[in-house]
Amino acid sequence: MKINPLFLQLKSILIGIQFFQVQCGYAQEEKNSELYKTIMSKDSLLFNVGFNTCDISQFENLFSDDFEFYHDQDSISDKELFLLNLKKGICLPGKNYKVRRDLKTNSTEIYPLTKNGVLYGALQIGIHQFFEISPGQKDKPGSIAKFTHVWLLKNGVWKLSRSFSYDHKLPDNDKQHSIEVK
């Protein structure tokens, strides 16, 4: 069989590229990358729309059915329990104050999750702060927390699958609750 030398050359280039990719692994996404923007738009839907305006449908749409939420102070809940707590808690109609979540500027890190080079999910790590809002009053700063979100691409749709929320502390308390081991 005659093999086109050009084909061989191409093959070696392709292998080279592949090798280079494997060597590099997957670093943090740049802020202007497609994935970064996609995840940030989902984050915005979830919090700026869903959480901050108590639009529960955003959570229903964006959470995967087998969603798991792990919280350092409230332990663990599934999608049903999470939504119930939201409806009975900060989104209870007639409540005299609202809660707003702000994402800390430049705290977000996004990493791609791939299988054999194909994107299947993303890891989002960040810091956010919660504020208590009462009409006619200055917003009251609440707890600051770290969070880690596992987003999965399911049939072309991004779903928040796992959420870990931890290291909650009050803004005037600089004491680091996380234990650092160096």
Binding site: C24, Y26, I76, Y120, Y166, I179
Partner: protein
């Protein structure tokens, strides 16, 4: 005059005593939480060591089987999501069957409690091939407290980088 002074001092003393009582309670509460965090740190670090220093580095598959949850979820940035405990054990055995020796060393991590459920450990580690550093990676481990044992329930392994030789 003297009795008057004592009279005004009385409520002040009460406040002071209350305040001191409050302070000591605060201090005690803080010591308790520091102590609890200290225990948590010791226990998670012990689990990290059992998982990697013993089961991964020295190929103790029986111990590995004991530590990881039956419903394990392993999210890897290069090889996808694995939700099979059997596959996890198989890949450890595969790794241990190779002639080159792959080992892992923890560089740094943070440990936080997750309610009464368990703990989250986030860190960075280096992998070695035959004792030579080959790459680094970051990880998120969700540990579940089950009776007196710690079970590794969720793993996210990301930002793998090769170390230039």
């Amino acid at each position: 005059m003297k009795t008057n002074k004592i009279k005004t001092m009385e409520p002040m003393m009460n406040i002071l005593i209350l305040f001191m009582l409050f302070l000591s309670r605060e201090a005690k509460a803080q010591t308790n939480s520091v102590l609890k965090m200290d225990v948590l740190k010791t226990e998670i670090m012990k689990m990290d060591s059992l998982l990697f220093d013993v089961s991964f580095n020295q190929c103790d598959a029986a111990l590995f089987k004991k530590i990881i949850a039956d419903d394990i979820e392993f999210y890897d940035d290069r090889s996808g999501l694995n939700t099979s405990k059997g596959n996890e054990i198989k890949s450890l055995l595969d790794k241990c069957g190779r002639s080159e020796k792959l080992t892992r060393k923890l560089n740094s991590c943070t440990i936080d409690k997750l309610g009464d459920f368990g703990a989250v450990q986030i860190g960075e580690h280096t992998f070695y091939v035959d004792g030579k550093p080959s790459g680094t990676g970051k990880f998120v481990h969700i540990w579940e407290r089950k009776d007196k044992d710690w079970i590794l329930k969720r793993i996210v392994s990301y930002e793998h980088r090769a170390i230039k030789k």
